[in-house]
């Protein structure tokens, strides 16, 4: 049985990637080699930057089925237009015009099903890629990458989190920012979620949205306060009052931000940082068993 742990935040820039990359590193060093880091931020995946030695092994296409309308068979009856929940089909009988807008289509197949003339055929349309790094059997790092301009990030994430390449004992899913569909898709099958936040009004605001979401989908979670300082006590007051567990606090450090900007957070890790992550892993282990 593998354990899936998502790292999410609501607000962007709180440190999802920092925490994901570090957890991956410390699990690999201290617990097991059977760990995978999955970069689900398909609009701008960046986990790979911290692993300069990892090489892309292959590129797996993610396709969306988009209907195409055969203008010879089409009688412009508009049945497909009525069936399309997403207003993706435009039929103008007087102009003999029938077309599908891929940016609106959700590939449900209803139009092809209902067409009485069999004039609709679904064709593969590239929306993204899945890239496994370093090993084609159990890649330590995988990333999803959305085709520029495509609005179908959720579909790419679903393919990524359901990929047969995800088979390590511990799988870490680095979620995209926000609390909308792409995040829900990332969290769909996880055992535990780490919410990374920062002590700022914006951080707290979005953390609350994220907590609401996790209550809604009934999933266990804990909070990591990154860039912790004494400037915004409201954060911890809220968490205490709401009885939400803080599983770790990472102190604010300008020097650490420099290291991050250079992509070097896994080189010369300080003792303080090491301690923080060991503590976080102990806390996670008390929720989902990660130590064998």
């Amino acid at each position: 049985m593998s354990i899936k742990i998502a790292i999410a935040s609501g607000k962007g820039g709180t440190g999802k990637t920092t925490v994901s990359v570090n957890l991956f590193h410390f699990i690999k060093e201290n617990i097991t080699q059977s760990v995978q880091l999955v970069d689900c931020d398909v609009e701008e995946p960046n986990d790979a930057i911290f692993f300069p030695n990892y090489q892309v092994q292959e590129v797996i296409d993610v396709n969306q089925l988009i209907p195409t309308i055969d203008h010879v068979k089409c009688t412009y009856c508009r049945k497909c237009v009525e069936y399309c929940e997403f207003n993706a089909i435009v039929i103008i009988a007087s102009k003999h015009y029938a077309d599908v807008n891929p940016a609106l289509c959700h590939s449900c197949g209803a139009c092809a099903y209902i067409c009485p003339e069999n004039a609709i055929e679904e064709k593969a349309h590239l929306i993204g890629e899945i890239q496994p790094f370093n090993n084609s059997c159990q890649p330590p790092l995988l990333e999803g990458r959305l085709v520029i301009g495509s609005p179908m990030q959720t579909m790419v994430i679903k393919d990524l989190v359901n990929s047969s390449l995800l088979k390590a004992d511990i799988q870490l899913l680095d979620a995209p920012p926000g609390t909308s569909c792409p995040v829900v898709a990332t969290l769909s099958q996880t055992d535990y979620t780490i919410l990374v936040t920062e002590p700022s009004p914006f951080g707290l605001h979005d953390l609350k949205l994220m907590i609401e979401l996790l209550h809604e989908i009934k999933q266990p979670f804990g909070v990591v306060i990154n860039k912790a300082d004494d400037q915004f006590p409201e954060m911890e007051e809220y968490l205490l009052k709401s009885n939400i567990e803080v599983i770790g606090k990472i102190p604010f450090s300008t020097n650490y931000a420099y290291l991050y900007a250079q992509g070097k957070i896994l080189q010369n890790i300080s003792e303080d940082i090491q301690k923080v992550y060991e503590q976080i892993l102990t806390q996670i282990n008390s929720k989902v068993q990660i130590y064998a």
Binding site: F86, N87, V90, I91, I92, L104
Partner: protein, 105 residues
């Protein structure tokens, strides 16, 4: 020639609606006989595709020009394809009749 002005209501004294796909009504104005009629936008509350659907409506109505605040990329593409002229007007306080007066000059 018939032109459409996006409108917040179904009377000439109602305000101009800056939104194209989400406009409450489309005022269809005939420049020859100076008549106007209001067509309600029944897809005003759809989740997505309002621009595309409204563009489809313009084509079906057979109008040659649309006056609105702005047009989204999907609506633009379709209106361009069928050579319907898009006129952008940044006047949220104007009424439909004042815009008709302006274009009748």
């Amino acid at each position: 020639m018939e032109i459409v002005i996006t409108s917040a209501g179904d009377k000439l004294t109602d305000k101009f609606d800056l939104r194209f796909g989400r406009a409450a009504y489309f005022c269809v104005y005939n420049t020859q006989d100076k008549t106007s009629k209001f067509v309600s936008n029944d897809i005003v509350n759809v989740q997505g595709g309002a621009g595309t659907k409204s563009a489809e409506k313009m084509i079906e109505l057979g109008v040659k020009r649309v006056i609105s605040g702005d047009f989204g990329p999907k609506a633009k593409q379709l209106l361009n394809k069928f050579e319907i002229q898009m006129v952008m007007l940044d006047e949220s306080d104007s009424t439909i009749e004042s815009i008709i007066a302006k274009i009748s000059k």
